[in-house]
Symmetry: C2
Subunit: 309 residues, 2 copies
Amino acid sequence: MGKLLIVGTMAFDAIETPFGKTGKILGGAGTFIGLAASQFNVDSAIVSVVGDDFPQSYMDILKNKDIDLSGVEVVKGGKTFFWEGKYHNDLNSRDTLATELNTLADFNPVVPSDYADSDIVMLGNLHPNIQLSVINQMEKRPKLVVLDTMNFWMDIAMEKLKEVIARVDVLTINDEEARQLSGEYSLVKAANKILTMGPSYLVIKKGENGALLVNHEGMFFSPALPLEEVKDPTGAGDTFAGGFIGYLAQSGDLSFENMKRAVVLGSAMASFTVEEFGTDRLLNLDEREIDVRIQRFVDLVDFDILLTQ
Amino acid sequence: MGKLLIVGTMAFDAIETPFGKTGKILGGAGTFIGLAASQFNVDSAIVSVVGDDFPQSYMDILKNKDIDLSGVEVVKGGKTFFWEGKYHNDLNSRDTLATELNTLADFNPVVPSDYADSDIVMLGNLHPNIQLSVINQMEKRPKLVVLDTMNFWMDIAMEKLKEVIARVDVLTINDEEARQLSGEYSLVKAANKILTMGPSYLVIKKGENGALLVNHEGMFFSPALPLEEVKDPTGAGDTFAGGFIGYLAQSGDLSFENMKRAVVLGSAMASFTVEEFGTDRLLNLDEREIDVRIQRFVDLVDFDILLTQ
């Protein structure tokens, strides 16, 4: 059982999609990452910050999944980070209606001493300074540091972000961000350039179009599972990351072959999240369902061919 | 060696992409389909129409690939169909700068008697009336009829198009067209609905995001190969169709398992086309290169996983 440290937001989300509208519900990158990773045999902790408006029942949801919350600062009189968004009809784009940073604005992450020797560190999408602070608090170099980020930080803090990128093993970004970071249009060229910036592995997340894993040994592609129902894409990328690191922490195998499996597991976990609003589907998931879904991934790309022409 | 009948445009294309600009070059759906299929062991013919401005050298390119052109009408004093387009920076969208139907406007396809008993008929993207005329000229029901079409015909001739769809075995369209045709957003629901309209197989083409094959037995997904260089996407979908039917005609096996292989072969052929302008790459291709590329598809999705969690 690997020790896993996650830094990421815990938040209130309010979401509207063509399939419905929520009030303030449990959200945040740290939440989705933690819940997805908790499906695996891991000893995990979240480092985050919330206000004292964050309900105990939400804390309990995470605690009940055996996630250590001693690194979650509760700011007295503070308000929890809030995001409100409305998805367009195709679910591939959305408008942000509100972003209230609240306590997140002054977030100073403190890694619990019990997790300063974690095997795997997952840096959820946050200001690069926060990510760097977490790396610097580790007692020893973790076996694997995974970084998620987004175009916003490339726009306003590229140099600092590059400092973080130089210190991680795996970077997860989407295709447009890979292009922005590298200045290359071709994803192959973009990936090769990014692999000279620090990471040994790059995961290019393409949402409903799957995920591409690249390292110097080669490339691996996992499709997203075509689904009957997609209600809410919020948290899909974070769930992917959680499944990815959860599987790696459980297996302790950081080879390219095992990274491929981790990408499939991440994709499988994300395929659940999008089926319901917020964390609803992740919270109601049994191991058998995960196995069935992985088999669907196996079948989806399965073909045999003889190179005899 | 299967007998293959292709109906599709033979055309002049003028193309601008961020990587260059051509004068009038050889193009057209029938051309790309025929050239891609000619990489396989097939006896193929194209039914099309051109003006007498269409150079003999272009005819010879196709003839040299053993494609029968007795079904290509040359209209005296007529001009060949011309398309001019400019791709945007991301290559995923384009502006049509000119569409001159010319002889295509009055195209009345005549199936050569030698090919009226073809095993496979490929109906390239054309007015549904033309596609229907070709089906009606067949001496007997072909073993497989494959239909390619686009949103334009859904907009202006949906009822006629549905008549054609009802009479084919495989329909190839893109994801937006699948949604338009079915009225369903979820591609899984869209596919299931379309499979009640006639075809046994649906191929949803997603360009750089791969292709999804669906029938009542299940789904199969082939990614597009991530490429170092993409210069010109023109003809990629037609090349896909040509590789798909070429492989099926050569093997004579119309099972789901073999359709999967055909999708991979189609994707492999399309991955060549986009690397150069027009037909340049297709015309300079050897079997060894195709084998190497298929191996890259095999490797790209290869993973093994034990369902033991």
